[in-house]
Amino acid sequence: MTATTPTPADLPAQPAAHGHGHGDHTLTGFVIFLLSESVIFLALFAGYAIYKTSSPLWLPPGVEGLEVAMPLRFTVVLVSSSGVIYLAERALHRGRLGEFRAWWLLTMAMGTVFLVGQGLEWAGLPFGLGDGVYGASFYLLTGFHGLHVLTGVLLMGLMLARSFRPGNYDAGSVGVTAVSLFWHFVDVIWVVLFVLIYVWQR
């Protein structure tokens, strides 16, 4: 911001200039960004599939594969949180701020449970990042996705905090819409990852 530009406090009431509201731009931009972000995952998925099908050394010595039952439970938690965040959004739409906060907090909690589950799994595995291309791919993929989950939870925290500014969410919130879009994105990515890493083991 320049010194010569007035701060938001000096501004007169927002005029309906330029035809478009600012919020519309934000969503357009955010969707474009998410499309681009999904390409990183596509690249990593492709890399994983290539290694899995062509590497002469896949599972490190002494490793049989991954256990599926526990991760599946955490997957269910994460995927169903997509439904919960939808409820939160709907509540905000109907102007029920308290209900919104409750669902929103539940989504955050479910995301956190997923992260804890992943941490526990990592701690119990018999191989590490340095164990061949398998270990490297496993930790990189799950870690990179986990980073997205963490980002999602933090962003939700921010949006929750903003909901406490009086009147802030009266007309809905672009931020909330964007974060919940992000959350659906993170969930879809996880489903693909789960299939690639846990289901496709043989």
């Binding site: 530009t5 200039a17 330029h18 478009h20 690249a43 990042l129 949006m159």
Partner: protein, 576 residues
Amino acid sequence: MTSTAPAPAPSFDPRVLKAPHPVPGAPNNWRRFLSFNTDAKVIGLQYMITSLFFLLVGGLLSMIMRGELITPAADLVDPTVYNGLYTMHGTVMLFLFLFPILNGFNNLLIPPMIGAPDMAFPRLNAAAFWMVPVFGVILMASFLVPGGPSGAGWWAYPPQSIQNPLGHFLNGQFLWILAVALSGISSIMGAVNFITTIIRMRAPGMGWFRMPIFCWTAVAAQAIQLIGLPVLTAGAVLLLFDLSFGTSFYRPEGGGDPMLYQHFFWFYSHPAVYVMVLPVFGIFSELFPVYARKPLFGYHVVAIASFAITFLSLIVWVHHMFYSGTPQWMRNLFMVTTMLIAVPTGIKVFAWIGTLWGGKLRLTTAMLFCLGGVFNFIFAGITGIMLATVPVDIHVGNTYFVVGHFHTVIFSTITYGVFAGIYHWFPKFTGRMMYEGLGKLHFVLTFIGSQLTFLPMHAAGLLGMPRRVASYDPEFAFANVLASLGAFLLGVATIPFLLNLVSSWVRGEKAPPNPWHAIGLEWLLPSPPPAENFEDDVPTVISGPYGYGLGRPLVEDEQRYVAKAASAASAATGGA
């Protein structure tokens, strides 16, 4: 990332900004170029100035290399230093000169051309710009770390790029990856911004097929950034892990595969050449109609061809790996796709020639650079097709022929286009005319210098001179002496250019709103335009661009805008 704040950016409110406000581009108040300014025109000039600085840095590195190569022996610098030099030269020229300068054009041109007050996300825009000096410093810092800068070339292939003989965590290769990653983030922020702006903020009446070609090529190029850069980022992250955290993504000992990196790298870096060349195609398509006084030949086809190029550019990358042990079926497939890309590209060249045909040509400096650029591009397209032919490439791949080919595009076409754009739009954004005499001197020196530098490289390459070497067989000496002399001449050619930029900006003749009698929304604005371009008096577009000689107005009430610009410009620059 994308700001989710519902609060409007202050620079967005036209009512406030109608108050006296420093005119972007005028040489007064230079301090705002050092601030986190959110005005697209200030950011555009920030990009321009930063990248011209790095052009000098990259040029200096190349002249040290040409100094080394003027004799066959490795006498000026030793081969390790030489490896660092070409790695840094390539990286600086791409990531710190060309990408940023083209983003400078995007910032300056897109909002006025479509009648928008600013970019869709002004703060994101400023943040994207300020990452450029940051990663510039990071990259330059690699000259100071133990072991010096990365010597793995701009493509950073493993295994060279995952070796860390000295064992320091902060090594040249690490800083290289960091810089390239930051550049990628900055470019994605830019791409989101440019595309959103063009989709959502066009003036009333400006449908897609009334948009100037520059905006079409901007969307086409930025779409490549969005699709390609993430793949490079993925490849670079794996590289970083292999280099610094002991993983085996690209190490065959651990089951990894170095070829995967090559795929990741070229999946982006081939299209990246189109990220650079598409906006220059846009510049050519803007300038030829102005200086030939004729409508752009085949406007619709040229517009659509941009997207054909985007699409095709994403499916040709393996032509960089013909000699890397690629299976034969893959080579054949990618040979065909590569040749296909010559079709939309050729269409554009024909459209420019069709525009020039029978036109009343005005040979301004900008026009000379366009003509020279297209001339060189035709040559580079021919050598490109030669390289796309597998049996040819097997022999000349990794020789100076490739170096000759891509410099003819990247310097003799793209950089010519950049120069043309600067000469053409400088008066619009600074309010001052450039000196035509110095400009023509710049053109003549550049044209002779670039032929002298790059033509002999093709010859040396056909005779078998490998690239990336500090010493070579004396049989190639003649070609190399010519190339070195040419490179020094190119160095000399920047002197009139810089002199021209600085002296015109400081004390050049005041520019009228439309010095070239061009058609386009940006030329209906005062020179330099006010902070919010048309503010809340956005014109309604009633016809397509390039109506030269057709005698139809571009916007409703055109005379009023012309008169307004003329009076506003004289008032705004009067006190500067």
